[in-house]
Amino acid sequence: MTAVQDLEAAPTTGEIQTIVAARALAGKRSCFIGVGRPSTAALLARMVHNPELVLVYESGTIGAKPLRVPLSIGDGELAHTADLVVSVPEMFNYWIGPGRIEVAFLGAAQIDRHANLNSTVIGDYEHPKTRLPGAGGAPEIAIGCPEVVVTVPHGRRTLVITDLGVLERDPADGELTLTRLHPGVIVEQVREATGWELRVAPDLALTPAPTAEELTALRELVAR
């Protein structure tokens, strides 16, 4: 992650995913950030779209302004740069529960066609094939935050951003439907990478390609 990358190279699918996620934070006041790629997207949003965006991490850091992408949600730089640092009970009971944080950026291991997230087990609960980390903060965050954006590798309720495209819930029955394709991706690719028979919106749109500003800012951020 620290190697300086070629700023001339074409964007990777992962970079496009991060850039598209960052765009979803334009004009928002506050964002709750889960572990991993959500953090990169939120920092990029502060660099390119929304310098006043309030970043909230479940470790209790509210208004964190990290210069580098933190590895954990409790890195020291988050506490050092935060407007305030609160305990875990206060974070969930006073800040997340009442809906004070506008958007939640969550990752997940699996998502189904109804946008249910799985981060518990794959296989039988008592004898799991794969034991995943567990729910963490996600259940109450998904309930408390008015808007939820899920970033998963393609392979809530409002928007799922993968490295291949964007899925949104069909207003009729809530099923996740492909509404946008990232540059260079074809529908067949997304179908193959989806574990159910994927519904495609009739007015399927194309994601606008990353701008030079977005791509340069992202690569500079990741190389820090």
């Binding site: 470790s59 020291g76 609160v86 305990s87 875990v88 974070m91 969930f92 980390p133 729910a135 963490g136």
Partner: protein, 271 residues
């Protein structure tokens, strides 16, 4: 007033086989030195409680010291799986471990109810989650509004162990930076033990600092660097390289066992 003792004495006096023990610290101030001393003294059959088991419980469960894990997020943050915990849950190695899992908000509220000596806490939660049948939570109806709410049982461990930046000579401690649920864990437990970076003549209250008076703590032990590879705000940095390296060390049973022998069991002084 808390007694000032050595780490060896603190663990010998307060940790017993079969106890329920919460070693808390949310990413920050994780009491690694105390956990390692528990392993060196060979404590067995523990019920280990932590919101985020982290590398410390990966080590303690990896050597088979626990019968039960109570938790809400068992991952290596930003890195991936905790391989030793997965091996114990998926393959019963080196011994089976029962899991009781909650969400972060549920665990935080369980600790808060424990600190208040209330039987339960009430919160809004996902009453339709699959996990509700697997954990000890239940529904209650608000007597004032009729709203359906979630009740979670209080958490009252036999012992809470935390790490803090400093203590005074009466065993009152102060920690600052990310406060996690340490105060709740100490006040909810039957006994409490604190390791600190240093002893000072007088605690100087810090902005955002948490002071826990010595009269709710059993004993305090000095353990400089006692939270490494986690960190103590203003005094040390989180060792992110080690957290990445742990992914490699912990993947294979043999490498893990050799690392634990060299770095925990054979060391009189903790890392």
């Amino acid at each position: 007033m808390a007694e000032l003792v050595t780490l060896t004495e603190a663990v010998a006096g307060l940790v017993h086989d079969g106890d329920s023990v919460a070693l808390e610290g949310f990413t920050h101030l994780i009491p690694f030195a105390a956990g390692h001393e528990i392993l060196r003294q060979g404590r067995q059959n523990l019920e280990l409680i932590r919101m985020t088991p982290d590398v410390l419980y990966d080590q303690m469960i990896g050597v088979g010291a626990a019968r039960t894990l109570v938790f809400s997020y068992a991952g290596n943050p930003g890195v991936g799986s905790l391989h030793r915990i997965r091996d114990a849950v998926e393959h019963d190695w080196p011994r089976p471990v029962a899991v009781e899992e909650y969400s972060h908000a549920q665990m935080a509220n369980r600790y808060a109810a424990g600190a208040a000596h209330l039987p339960c806490a009430v919160m809004r939660g996902d009453l339709h989650s699959d996990l509700i049948q697997r954990s000890g939570v239940d529904r209650v109806v608000c007597p004032f509004t009729g709203e359906a709410l979630m009740a979670v049982p209080a958490l009252n461990p036999d012992l809470a162990i935390i790490h803090a930046q400093e203590a005074d000579r009466h065993g009152s401690v102060q920690l600052w930076g990310i406060p996690g649920v340490q105060k709740e864990a100490v006040l909810g437990a039957a006994h409490a033990m604190v390791t600190v970076e240093r002893i000072v003549d007088q605690l100087e209250p810090r902005p955002g600092g948490t002071i826990i008076p010595g009269w709710v703590i059993d004993c305090v032990a000095v353990a400089p660097g006692g939270s490494r590879p986690s960190y103590a705000h203003d005094l040390s940095e989180r060792d992110n390289d080690f957290y990445r390296e742990w992914d490699r060390i912990s993947r294979e049973r043999e490498l893990f066992t050799a690392w634990m022998d060299a770095n925990v069991h054979d060391r009189a002084v903790t890392r």
